[in-house]
């Protein structure tokens, strides 16, 4: 019986799920494993690679894709609003936050799709519950598996297919039978040899008779040795500067892609979007980091063999209240934007800009279910059966 999933604080600290049966993260996959796997079974050019960027904290969509002609925008948040002269215009009625110069170029090049008004029925304003809804793709009843974990389950249960960069596996990648791998974000991996190395190898040989947690610990070490004798290209020079260094995480992804790693889905993350106070400058700075990291990454991979294969998808657990609070910030809201970027993405606007006056409990009404975006990614990028993964049919969008 597989044990419950990693990072359950999303689910359990909010009392959302019980001791559900879930696969745990695939143990011990290292970047070098991926490199070597890339040599043995290189990913074919033309196979789409999807990079999910999770923006933790609830990004304020209205100050990201700015409805700069809407009077209600200025009325609701006078201290936070950007005026027409500041925004980077995308259309007659919306423009990017001034710091998003890279995204502006991508949009103008037709390589960025902006899906507006994305949400789900009965929006939940808890960070943890809403993020679990997004990661499990289940707004109604709590669901113990992540949506990409279910995709792994249905596609050969190979943990190398979906890889998180960083020490903690997001619930999104945990299925019932299989979970994605997690690779370190800070560079090369050197395994010991000699009797110490063989002792470690013996230690990590899980016995089927052991308690589940005991097996799990052993498994988390065992795959470190999958390539101990085959020294693939190392990532020793890649080094993140901290846990919240998106550019560093994407550098690891770029290296894995360049090495033809057999991975179809990567997960990276940037936190800190929960701006209840003093939002304007701080959000713009964070969006600038996001913009530079993602557009820089796309430039890097564009020059490689998979330049036309890479699709980046950026999402957050919710948008924020239309009206600012009295702290020059915004409280938790509902609908937001999803960005889809890549050389072969069909750029442009998808979904409708939600009304800033026709609100529900002071918040935006969604018009695109986020599972439509997932369905599009599953079918058009991953060649998967979206209905099976999502447990229902959701209309696809045309961004891929």
């Amino acid at each position: 019986m597989p044990r419950t999933m990693s990072r359950r604080q999303f689910l359990i600290s909010s009392g959302v799920v019980g001791g559900a049966a879930l696969a745990v993260g695939a143990g011990g996959i290292t970047v070098r494993d991926l490199m070597v796997a890339g040599k043995r079974t290189p990913l074919a050019t033309g196979s789409k690679i999807v990079v999910f960027v999770t923006m933790y904290g609830g990004n304020d969509g209205l100050n990201t894709v700015i409805p700069y002609t809407d009077k209600a925008y200025y009325a609701g948040r006078p201290e936070l609003a950007y005026d027409e002269s500041e925004v980077l215009p995308l259309a007659d009625d919306v423009g990017f936050n001034p710091s998003m110069t890279g995204f502006k170029k991508l949009y103008d090049a037709g390589q960025l799709a902006i899906v507006r008004g994305v949400g789900y029925p009965n929006p939940d304003r808890s960070h943890f519950r809403s993020m679990s809804i997004w990661q499990t793709a289940s707004p109604g009843t709590p669901q113990p598996t992540g949506w990409l974990g279910r995709w792994l389950d249905a596609n050969g249960a190979d943990p190398l297919l979906a890889v998180n960069v960083g020490p903690v596996l997001p619930p999104m990648l945990a299925g019932q039978h299989c979970a994605g791998a997690a690779v370190p974000s800070n560079g090369g991996v050197t395994m010991p040899d000699g009797t110490y190395g063989s002792g470690l190898r013996a230690l990590d040989t899980a016995s089927k008779n052991s308690a589940p947690l005991i097996q799990r610990v052993a498994q988390s070490g065992s795959d470190l040795f999958r390539v101990a004798t085959t020294f693939g290209p190392t990532l020793a020079s890649s080094k993140t500067t901290g846990a919240n260094d998106l550019a560093g995480q994407l550098d690891v992804v770029a290296r894995c892609i360049a090495a033809n790693a057999p991975t179809r889905v990567y997960s990276v993350q940037l936190g800190g979007f929960d701006f209840h106070a003093d939002e304007k400058a701080a959000q713009s700075t964070l969006l600038g980091q996001l913009d530079a990291a993602v557009s820089g990454f796309l430039t890097t991979v564009a020059a490689g063999p998979h330049g036309k294969d890479v699709v980046a998808v950026l999402y957050s657990e919710f948008g924020r209240r239309v009206a600012a609070n009295g702290s020059q910030g915004t409280d938790h809201g509902t609908a937001g934007n999803i960005f889809v970027a890549g050389a072969t993405v069909n750029g442009g606007m998808f979904g409708d800009q939600p009304s800033l006056t026709d609100l529900s409990m002071d918040d935006l009404k969604y018009n695109v279910d986020f599972r439509s975006v997932y369905a599009t990614v599953l079918e058009s990028a991953l060649g998967a059966d979206a209905d099976q993964v999502l447990g229902g049919t959701f209309p696809k969008l045309a961004f891929i």
């Binding site: 990693s6 359950r8 600290s13 943890f128 020490p167 791998a181 110490y196 097996q215 988390s220 209840h276």
Partner: protein, 434 residues
Amino acid sequence: MTSASDAPRSDLAHLYRRAGFGATPAELDAAVAAGYAATVAALVRPPSSSDQGVLATPPPQLSLAPAPTANSTAAQRKAYQARVTSEGRELRLWWLDRMVMATNPFPEKLTFFWHGHFATALSKVRSAALMLRQNELLRTGGLGAFDALDLAIARDPAMMIWLDENQNIAGRPNENFARENMELFTLGYGNYSEDDVREAARCYTGWRYNQDSDAFVEVAKLHDNGVKTVLGHTGNFDGGDLITILTHSEASYRWVSTRVWCRFAKTITTDPVVNTLMTTYSPQLNIGALMTATFNSPLFLQTKGELVKQPVEWIVGALRALKMRANNQNYLGYLQGLGQVPFEPPNVGGWPFDDGWLTTAASYTRMKVARYIAAHGDTSAVADEPASGRADAAAHLLSVDAWGAQTRVALAQVAHDPVSLMTLALCAPEYVVN
């Protein structure tokens, strides 16, 4: 397998792992002599001013310099941030060392639990001195009454900055603290409505941390004096009134009891044992009584091996066992690689737990840290044994009941090399789980 005659020793080792960071052989000998209930009573105590380990680890002297304002120069901002960074390192390492050194580990273990519960991060608070003050509050108030603790936390400067209470004003309230205090601190998700969040935010309006006077103040003109309705209660409540309502509710009794059981015994969401704990906890919201009831529950002894050590617990336990100090900045890098840096939880929800720690990146870092500790610590209790006895000596040193068959095979391969044997012992599944 543990033989029947080892049962008391095994039970006490379990208690020391959960109420502390694992027992040394000498501590375990003394605990066996004293008995289980007496050991619980000796552990579950407030911090003692005569604790030799506490006396050896005085808190760092940190500056309470005012944060930069809109008028500060770029150089002033840079200097301030540099001080936050360097004092932050000092603070993080100090607490790690305090956890290693404290003679009674329980006050530090409980403080660490509350730090995960009221998770607050230096990166936003940007004052190591205020983070230390919150840490002392959790240490001194963490075993008292929960309503008093939640109220103190609500008025704690670091929390007030972290969840924006400091900017909450009548008319345009800020919901940040109001929501998280219900969802994460007092009630648990699902036990309040969105309307409750908005009404609750009004109650806390006007609370301020005055940086100049370094004091909590209630600014009357910023406070909403209207009638609020929260959780079915209606009145002109202020923040203190609301915290009384929240903490003295059935949902809160259940939430606090469940959180304690989940972190000290076994991860569950509903369990009959919580009903029992609640009856002990609810009359006076007595956290000390709740902790004692948890460790004395017959079901507690059935939770051996059911939790994964958090990275901080794992490192502290290893350092205590090998008689080392956390006096090396390397440990902060190691903790970052393992995914858990004190005073830097990923968000207000705190850290992951159980399998969340068992990832590749963590296993690789764990191997490196274990090697470092084994190479620099006191392994004489293992090295002095003949090779054939070293695996058992390592189990004894780490208060592990017994190694599994696979671990025995592994340890036998390196029995000639005590450093490698200790490294493997620290990475062994039987030690990584709790």
